[in-house]
């Protein structure tokens, strides 16, 4: 589980938005399934060189969780979760909400895992913030992702729901899915993440285990925001 940390405006969210194509990149590369370092070139592909179809394909390969959940409020929880299969089902079937039994079973299993089965047929707009975020996680997992991007997923949640969501994300990462998460709380980074990347003004200032984050480094990362950290 990799945390991206830094003060407001450092570029944490921009990084994730560039990765999912909602913000155009001004330069650089995003290499997936490969690496390029020390003169050694892997067989990875540069996401930024994708055409529209390849972008859609790439988006279906990772799951994305947003701070404001981004669910469809008027659809029921089960359908919201099934929307994660969007790119794996034909458009005509999807248009009329025809989902395969396999997909339905998987959606129900995920909802049960996250304790949301009783709410499966309720509209998403009737759920609490913590429940909505768990639905969003289920939707992301429906994509069978190898990578989960989370843009400040606990920023709008109370402490109890924050712990619950972070615990779920930790379990997901222990099941072999890489979780890349933007966090504002150093305490959560130390508690849940195995690697932290600290960025300031688009530059990487730190990349390593969170227990190596000391006071002086945090001061360089956060500057005058240091007092508001917890």
């Amino acid at each position: 589980m990799v945390a991206v940390i830094g003060r407001s405006g450092a570029g944490k969210s921009t990084l994730l938005h560039v990765m999912n194509g909602s913000t155009p990149a001004t330069g650089g590369q995003i290499l997936y399934h490969g690496y390029k370092s020390h003169g050694h070139e892997g067989n990875g592909r540069d996401i930024l060189c994708s055409n529209a179809r390849q972008w859609r394909q790439w988006r279906s390969e990772y799951g994305m969780i947003f701070q404001d959940f981004c669910l469809v409020p008027r659809l029921d929880v089960l359908t919201n979760v099934l929307l994660g299969r969007l790119n794996h089902t034909s458009t005509v079937k999807f248009f009329f909400k025809i989902f395969s039994d396999e997909d339905r079973t998987r959606a129900i299993t995920l909802l049960q895992w996250l304790g949301l089965l009783p709410q499966a047929l309720q509209r998403a707009e009737n759920l609490s913030g913590g429940q909505m975020q768990r639905v969003a996680i289920c939707r992301a997992l429906m994509q069978n992702p190898q990578l989960l991007l989370a843009d400040e997923p606990v920023a709008s949640l109370d402490p109890k729901n924050t712990q619950r969501i972070m615990e779920v994300l930790r379990q997901i990462s222990e099941n072999g899915i890489t979780v890349m998460i933007n966090l504002h709380s150093i305490e959560l980074v130390r508690q849940y993440c195995t690697r932290a990347i600290g960025i300031a003004q688009g530059e990487i200032l730190f990349d390593g285990p969170p227990d190596r984050l000391d006071e002086s480094l945090l001061r360089r990362l956060y500057g005058d925001e240091m007092e508001t950290l917890h």
């Binding site: 859609r56 947003f66 981004c70 008027r74 659809l75 929307l83 458009t91 509209r123 969003a136």
Partner: protein, 188 residues
């Protein structure tokens, strides 16, 4: 009713193509918006007189006059509603790999469906009343019945026709509010 339903279906498609947030090309949006403005600028009565001259007295001129004006007004109302829909559901769906059609179907349509239905019922009511006026210029419908009865001084028939109009308008109002409630109320 036929002209309202047909016009509403056409207006829904046009409105999604004319809205700012559906990734449709700018030139297409401009063409649809200008076309819709032209259709609703001409009053139904003017359309009806034109079509009566072209097709003669009957139901067709009334149908076309109502349909054209309704497409113009509903397209405008619908695309305004679509443009103000929340972008969050669409953002979530695009992140799942949704294309433009899928984003519209699941991101925008559930949000605007109650508003669109509301407008369709309101328009149905307006068109029903309007059809009585169009009948006066020979464009068919219940207005044609009314004017014939007035000309023949059949006051009992006139009363029944007027009563029928009142009953149908009230019925439409109650049906529309029930359907709206059914759609708007969250399932428990």
């Amino acid at each position: 009713m036929a002209s309202t339903i047909l016009s509403a279906l056409i207006a829904i498609v046009l409105a999604f193509l004319a809205a700012n947030n559906t990734r449709s090309p700018l030139w297409l949006r401009q063409v649809i918006r200008t076309g819709a403005a032209f259709l609703r600028t001409m009053p139904e009565l003017a359309w009806a007189v034109m079509f009566v001259m072209a097709f003669g007295v009957g139901a067709i001129p009334g149908f076309l006059a109502l349909a054209l004006h309704t497409v113009g007004s509903l397209t405008k109302l619908f695309y305004e509603a679509i443009s103000t829909a929340s972008p969050k559901p669409v953002r979530g769906l695009v992140a799942c790999g949704a294309g433009p059609v899928q984003s519209v179907r699941f991101g925008l349509w559930p949000q605007v469906k109650p508003i669109i239905l509301s407008y369709v019922f309101m328009r149905l009511e307006i068109n029903f009343r309007q059809s009585t006026i169009l009948g006066l210029v020979g464009a068919g419908g219940i207005g044609q019945e009314l004017i014939t009865n007035i000309q023949l001084s059949r006051y009992d028939q006139i009363s029944i026709t007027l009563l029928l109009i009142i009953v149908v308008v009230s019925l439409l109002d109650s049906v529309s509010s029930r359907v709206r409630r059914q759609i708007l109320e969250p399932r428990s």
